[in-house]
Amino acid sequence: MLKSLPDKKKIITFILENAVSVFLIGFIIFMVFTKRSFSTWDNIVNIINESSIYGIAACAMTVVIISGEFDLSASSVFGWSTVLFTMCCNTIGVLGAFVVTILCGALFGAFNGYLVAKVKMPAFVVTLGTMIAIKGLAFVVTKAQPINTDNATLKAIGRIHVGDISIIPMVYVAVAVLFIWFLRNTKFGRDIYATGGNYEVARLSGINVVFSKFIVFTMLGAAAALAAAMYGVRIKAGWAPYGQDLSLYCIAATIIGGTSLLGGNGGVHKTIIGVLLLAVLFNALTLLGVSGSMQKFVRGLVLITVIMLDAIVAKRRKDR
């Protein structure tokens, strides 16, 4: 009896600290027994594909959030990049389209990073402004028209599959692994945690906090552009309003995964769980026959629940 009490406490602590993963596993088990179609291979592939495009940007958003900032303009960089990628596919070819799109995304990110890190403007104001400006630019360039492409190489890339898995999840996995390695194994990755944890202490410790903040925005710009290029591979079209929910999706996936909005902790591996949870949830709600309006309500409830869990875990850690 005496021995079982600490065990129980340990289990509760474990469940609370890994609540999202526990909820995800529980939900998957619930779905497997409730809906046979959920565990079919076609549906699993669909969930993987669905989570991959936004997942690429979510990895980079996590790094920005770890550094203590966030970026609202990723949606517009995505929308603009779908336009640029499609236009480039129609003119200079697919390889050039990838290079130009990612460089341009990085440039937009660098602009945000410069204003936030160097000029010390609040990220909310800067990225709100660039969000509106970049979307406006995309509307002007396209005269507000959606454009599509018949590029044969792009279609061929879209047809590449390994065991039913398209190229997009492979890119997502590569990006996620790269970010995980970068954050865990490089000094620069650790600098980002330090910058987000306590900016002033990090600065006094000799960390180049300005560069840390600058580079995370640049990486997010490039990742949002890469995600847009993957969207182009899948949908073969570009339009300014595409991806308008990207920023909030990425922030939600990051928080659900367990990375604190306050910065300094968390990780891309956690965000992968958050992205997966959202994808499984969206898919499950559709399979369960839940109407569109109710789906939004449930998604909101899940977000609130996870944030509450996060607050409880943070309080328990503080009390210990």
Binding site: D42, N43, F139, P146, A240, Q244, D245, L285, T286, S293
Partner: protein, 318 residues
């Protein structure tokens, strides 16, 4: 502990909502229709989707309608999930034309009966759609133009200046209505004062645009045209607040209750019909025919035409 209990309660709530929500629309036994609606929350979407539900029920189908959120990638995933779940027929309401080819190709690859509704797909894949149920958007624009020409015949003045408020840039509806309007007005001396002003079907944005137009042009304006009833309501509020009510000829397209009231009041000169109930019901009727192996037209137009105050009883209003 209280917080932990609260979280557990929230989780239970989520699961119960999921299960209850799912049970609500499930109807085992009968054939199942799945619809992905890009404009699920748009004012026009609600009555269209309601008509789909009613007609499907009438014909013995169960139906699930989900929000595509104007995101082609999301709609593709939704259709894939529906196919995996064994739905028997599909209804596709696209968000924009450019992104439709991959979805049309996928829907055809499923070999399931399907129809597209409202937003016309890209020209390159139009022939691949088994049945497109949509209004002739260009014709709606032409009717707006004809109504304006008639207004100026009945109310001749020294000028024929017009303010034109459009919907969303890039949407086929917005573009095609403008094409039809310009087709009719092109040969007349009606002068559109403003460059493209997009209110994105948002009454408050239409109100802000109209306020700016009133500040800039004031008494020089003769007529105001909005592409739908919601934007008309916003523009009308601005006109009323600035003390210009009754001074301009007002036009819009739409069959919502605000339009109906303004037609009855005589404040709106005319509207143009595009009936979401008919469109939604037609989409299920055509799908039903395809399921039963009957031939259907490639294009089934939703009826359109002018609505005058005297005719309002002939139309459905939402």
């Amino acid at each position: 502990m209280k917080k932990t209990c609260l979280v557990v309660l929230m989780l239970v709530l989520v699961l119960s909502v999921v299960v209850a929500g799912g049970k609500k629309e499930a109807a085992p036994g009968g054939k199942k229709i799945f619809m992905s609606s890009a404009y699920y929350t748009a004012p026009y979407g609600a009555p269209l989707q309601e008509a789909v539900r009613e007609k499907a029920k009438e014909l013995g189908y169960s139906v699930q309608i989900v929000d595509g959120e104007e995101n082609a990638d999301k709609q593709l995933s939704q259709f894939k999930a529906a196919v995996a779940d064994g739905y028997d027929a599909l209804i596709y309401w696209p968000g924009d034309q450019a992104s439709t080819p991959p979805l049309v190709e996928y829907l055809n690859s499923t070999k399931l009966p399907w129809v597209a509704v409202n937003t016309v797909v890209a020209d390159s894949v139009l022939d691949l759609v088994p049945c497109m149920i949509a209004s002739d958007e260009v014709e709606i624009g032409r009717w707006l133009g004809r109504n304006i020409v008639q207004y100026f015949k009945e109310n001749p003045g020294s000028s024929k200046n017009m303010i034109y408020i459009e919907g969303s840039p890039g949407s086929s509806y917005t573009e095609n209505v403008t094409i039809g309007l310009n087709e009719v007005l092109g040969g007349t001396d009606v002068n559109i004062l403003n460059d493209h002003q997009y209110a994105q079907y948002d009454p408050s944005k239409a109100m802000a645009i109209m306020e700016d137009m009133l500040t800039k042009y004031g008494n020089r304006i003769d007529v105001v045209v909005a592409q739908d009833g919601g934007m008309f309501q916003g523009a009308y509020s601005a006109i009323q607040a600035a003390g210009y009510a009754g001074k301009f000829g007002l036009f819009c397209q739409g069959q919502d209750l605000i339009v109906r009231d303004k037609l009855l009041d005589g404040e709106l000169y005319a509207s143009v019909a595009q009936d979401p109930f008919t469109e939604g019901a037609l989409s299920v009727e055509m799908l039903d025919k395809i399921i039963r192996g009957e031939a259907v037209d490639k294009w089934v137009p939703t009826p359109t035409g002018p609505i005058w105050a005297a005719d309002i009883d002939q139309y459905s209003w939402f």
